[in-house]
């Protein structure tokens, strides 16, 4: 019987990276600017400490009765003694899983960054943001109160804003950062509205209390549905679900390790986590749960279609993330916490690995454009091997990690939502195709890169400080799924059944489901295999010509590569025309013709006459005064009209 982790150390899990942020930004950056590597060491040690503590927390929770640790809290905010908001932590199985994911992935990525960011003039700033980002995410998964969670939620958004715009001298980066921030905020209003609604109807924001209210049926009906949908809207923004997915592909402008962190363990995972955390609310509202499943299933296939045609390696990965997040939402919607979070858990490792691989490739070639790559298999054997493993894993090939969680999602959706099941099956095929398109274009064939330019014409393998974390992640991309072969992972999160290891290993291949001719695992494997084969036929063996296929499906290709014109829709039609031309211009007319115009008029007259007293007699002041009187009249009229 191991000892249970002391309470103080639990707090340290998220305080350590926070401390590292403070040390780097307050001490190292101002006073040790010539020793950038120090900040890397501090940040990595802090996150390593958090990782060790997270493991301890996990083992403690595993052995604790009902898989939960009670951590004493204290009052943070008292509103008229009627409403009290505690600052406390939830330490249950969900938190424990998330802690492991966040700390482990962040640790690997920060180690890798030492190589990737080497020589960058803003090395200190980079590690400061990384620490803050990780700390906010850890805080988000640990707190026991929706309001405090919202605080961390916003902090995570702020950090991703800072990190996406890290290379702010590139206008694309600055714009992408702004876009990410603004689009996700649209979702945040839903979340905030849900918080206010819950507070006014229940008087509490304590997550455990809200759970029990929902379970007891006190919190029910329209209020519950509205609150759940509001919370889900927040998750849609953060997890880049349709129709708020537009920010994630642009977020590629940040440094690649940042993308890895955003896509694997922090920013986008926050949305899925939020739905899982508030799951009892969703469970008791059919409408909300169905919304989650439908949005998730649609997003999965919708994003996959766009991934088929992108030429930038990071953009393909971005769409694959959106698609996989859709899977997670679908998993939550049809299966429950255990299934959705299991996919999040596996996805974190293989997606982080894919991004680190893409970073390694661009480190060697100086580009993210796959048309400028090719033939890297020979010169970058480690990168190739790990990237291949991750691609097999995301494609859902047995017995790699992705297979297990994807199969569980498919299994639950066939029982609950057959239409979504078929969509998900098509997505399986597409996923395998677009991932292996990347593999063949990048690593197969001959090097098509530019011989001029600053980078050497001969790409080289990345330094071992970058390779080592990739190897670790590759091991996880193979093995993380095995945790649930016996059903142990699901049971830890409160669901599923237990089976023997070998029985579990081949379970999907031996059990036929009603309505399917052969066992489900065979179908998904065949679909994935077909996808890989098609990619091989087009991009490696060249049995089929990519150009000809593109021409054949020109309208579809156009639709996918222009991303269904969503950017245009949002930026031009909604933002420019409706808001700027319509609403804003209307208000501007009122205020600037009347007022701003008046000021300018006065200024001009002033210049002309140079006399103070004249200014008052240009007629503008009377206009101002008129408005005061008109305002009074309007109020009185309104009062009488309303009775």
């Amino acid at each position: 019987m191991e000892t249970v982790i002391p309470n103080e150390l639990v707090w340290l899990i998220f305080l350590l990276p926070l401390l590292s942020f403070a040390v780097i930004s307050l001490i190292l950056r101002p006073f040790f600017s010539n020793k950038p590597r120090l900040s890397g060491y501090i940040s990595i040690s802090a996150i390593f400490g958090s990782f060790i503590l997270s493991i301890w927390a996990l083992t403690s929770i595993l052995s604790a009765p009902s898989h939960e640790l009670a951590i004493p809290d204290f009052n943070w905010l008292v509103i008229d003694s009627a409403i009290t908001i505690h600052l406390g932590l939830i330490m249950d199985s969900l938190t424990a899983v998330m802690l492991i994911v966040v700390t482990l992935v962040s640790l690997m990525i920060q180690m890798y960054s030492q190589g990737y960011m080497q020589g960058d003039p803003s090395y200190h700033r980079y590690y400061a943001y990384m620490s803050l980002f990780t700390a906010s995410m850890l805080g988000l998964v640990m707190v026991d109160n929706l309001l405090i969670m919202f605080v961390f939620w916003e902090l995570v958004g702020l950090c991703s804003y800072l990190l996406i715009g890290f290379w702010f001298h590139r206008p694309a980066a600055a714009n992408a950062a702004k876009k990410a921030f603004i689009v996700t905020r649209i979702g945040d209003f839903g979340f905030l509205a849900a918080i206010l609604l819950l507070l006014s109807k229940t008087g509490t924001l304590d997550i455990a209390q809200l759970h029990s209210l929902a379970i007891a049926g006190t919190l029910a009906g329209t209020v519950l549905t509205l609150a759940a949908i509001g919370i889900f809207l927040g998750a849609v923004g953060k997890s880049a679900q349709f129709p708020l997915h537009v920010w994630l592909p642009d977020a590629m402008e940040g440094p690649t390790p940042v993308s890895a962190l955003i896509h694997a363990a922090t920013m986008v995972a926050a949305g899925v986590f939020l739905v899982a955390r508030m799951f009892p609310l969703f469970e008791h509202s059919e409408v909300a749960l169905l919304t989650v499943a439908i949005i998730g299933g649609l997003t999965a296939i919708f994003a996959a279609t766009m991934g088929l045609v992108m030429t930038d390696i990071k953009r393909v990965l971005a769409y694959s993330t959106i698609s996989q997040l859709g899977y997670m939402m679908l998993g939550l919607g049809v299966g429950g916490i255990a299934i959705g979070i299991f996919h999040l858990f596996n996805h974190a490792f293989f997606k982080a690995l894919l991004f680190l691989g893409a970073g390694s490739v661009s480190h060697a070639t100086g580009t993210f454009d796959m048309r400028q790559m090719g033939g890297l298999r020979k010169v970058m054997p480690w990168t190739y091997a790990t990237f291949l493993i991750a691609s097999l894993s995301i494609a859902g090939i047995w017995p790699l990690a992705g297979f297990w969680s994807k199969d569980e999602i498919l299994l639950s959706s066939i029982n609950n939502q057959p239409i979504l099941f078929y969509l998900a099956m098509v997505t399986v095929f597409m996923t395998a195709f677009y991932m292996f398109r990347v593999v063949f274009l990048t690593f197969g064939g001959q090097y098509r890169g530019d011989n001029s330019g600053s980078h050497s014409a001969r790409p080289h393998e990345s330094p071992s400080v970058m390779i080592m974390p990739m190897v670790v992640l590759a091991v996880l991309a193979v093995g993380s799924g095995w945790l649930n072969v016996t059903g142990g992972f699901s049971q830890f999160l409160g669901g599923g059944e237990t089976r023997g290891f070998f029985e579990g290993l081949f379970h999907g291949f031996t059990h036929t489901l009603p309505g399917l001719p052969i066992p489900l695992a065979w179908i998904s494997l065949i679909l994935a295999g077909l996808g890989i084969l098609l990619a091989y036929a087009i991009y490696s063996a060249r049995w089929l010509s990519a150009e000809r296929i593109t021409r054949l499906f020109a309208p579809l290709h156009m639709l996918f590569s222009r991303k269904y014109w969503f950017d245009e829709l949002y930026e031009h039609i909604i933002a420019r025309i409706v808001l700027l031309k319509g609403l804003f211009a209307g208000l501007k007319f009122f205020d600037s013709r009347g007022i701003d115009g008046a000021v300018n008029g006065i200024a001009r007259t002033t210049v002309a006459t140079g006399r103070v007293i004249r200014k008052a007699q240009t007629g503008q002041l009377q206009l101002y005064g008129m408005f005061i009187i008109l305002g009074v009249v309007a109020i009185i009229l309104a009062m009488y009209l309303s009775g």
Partner: protein, 493 residues
Amino acid sequence: MNLELLLPELSLLITAIAVIMLDLFTERKGLLAVVSIVGLAIAAGFAITMWGTDPQAIFNNMLAVDNYALFFKLLFLGIAVLVILVSVDYVSKFVHFRGEYHALVLLATLGMMLMAAATDLISIFVALELAAISFYVLVGFLKDKKSTEASLKFVLLGGIASAVLLFGMALTFGFTGTTQLPEIALAVHEMSAQGLLSNPGLILGIVLMIAGFGFKIAAVPFHMWAPDVYEGAPTPITLYLSVGSKVAGFAVILRVFYSAFALPETLSLDWGMIFAILGAIGMTLGNVVAIQQANIKRMLAYSSIAHAGYIMIGLAAIGLSIGLSPTTDTLAPLAQSSILFYVVAFALADLAAFISVIVISGKLGSDQISDYAGMGKQAPLVALALTLGLISLIGLPPTAGFIAKFYIFSDAVNNGLLWLVIIAVLNSAISAYYYLRVVKVMWLNEPAREGKVPSSLALRLALAISCLGILLLGIVPTIVMKLAEMATSMFGF
């Protein structure tokens, strides 16, 4: 006559006179600021000793000395100290009238303190005019074209507003027969018992008073003076107008409407709805027009118009909470204290923003937002402070602005104003755009020229105080919330 209850005001008055006298005899004009700050500190000391004592009335119920008044008095004194601090550099450029500048700042403070304490329509008007006339002069202090123009506009429009206010007060007096707030409340109650409440004269009086006070707080549609005056005035005075004068306006409104027109409940519902609609219009117009401003002072002017709108949500919540549940007024003190919290949070954030503007624009000689490019490199600490101030104005955690918005929004939701809160939340989203644009220009754009932007010790001190306040309120809000609750639960008269 308990003159010792008036010690904060008296000491401030004596300081103001002393400053003018000193100006005649000394060549070291720096002393003026020192004396002013000492005077403000003494006044604050007196005010602190009175905190928590039983409410008392002085001058035949003209003024009240209660926690509510003391809360605002201390706030104004604190703001005045910061205004004097940030004026040090500014004033050193003036050749003449430095003594008058300090004295007028002190007199404006005195006027606002009396506004917070006044419990009679006449004393309210006198206090309001004392503050206003001091401001009229201060706005024109630069004596250049813009400043003079601003001052003149302010005087003329302020005159109209005062006339409107006075007309409203006269009507109210005519129908209730008294100018004292508690007695007005009794008279209104009696009228409603006789079924005379729908009397158009009284309603007109109340509406005119809303308009008059609305001018003070720059509520739409009585806001038109604000952008011009904010742009033209010396920036420390713009700052004082934005955080001092506006807050004083709210102090008066809250007292007048809560103690004179709270009952019967239909009346509360009426003015609650008026404030709700004015608030919705104000924040929408302020935020949307702020987006288009290229001048940072004008942008902050529209931003403060928008914030007046947010604060009016709190007034609306009070009106509705009395109107909806007149017998159990448990919620009412809650909404009042969240208004008090909001004005403190807003004052701190606006202080941080304006002080940074004083530092940066003072060096650049320009208020254009585009000229702020690269300030993150040239003046990292000031840019950080401005960023913090703007983040608090947006209402993002972990700043005071977030908690303040949260308090006031949850009050409104509790009183059935969900629609208003939705408008307000959408407005916060719009506002993020223009606040963050400044942040982006400062941190992400390249500076136009080389070199650091220096700042004096006094400015840095003022900046540090306001930033600490923003974070303190954001992280441990309970302290100030407790004070605000004490202030509103002991509403004297």
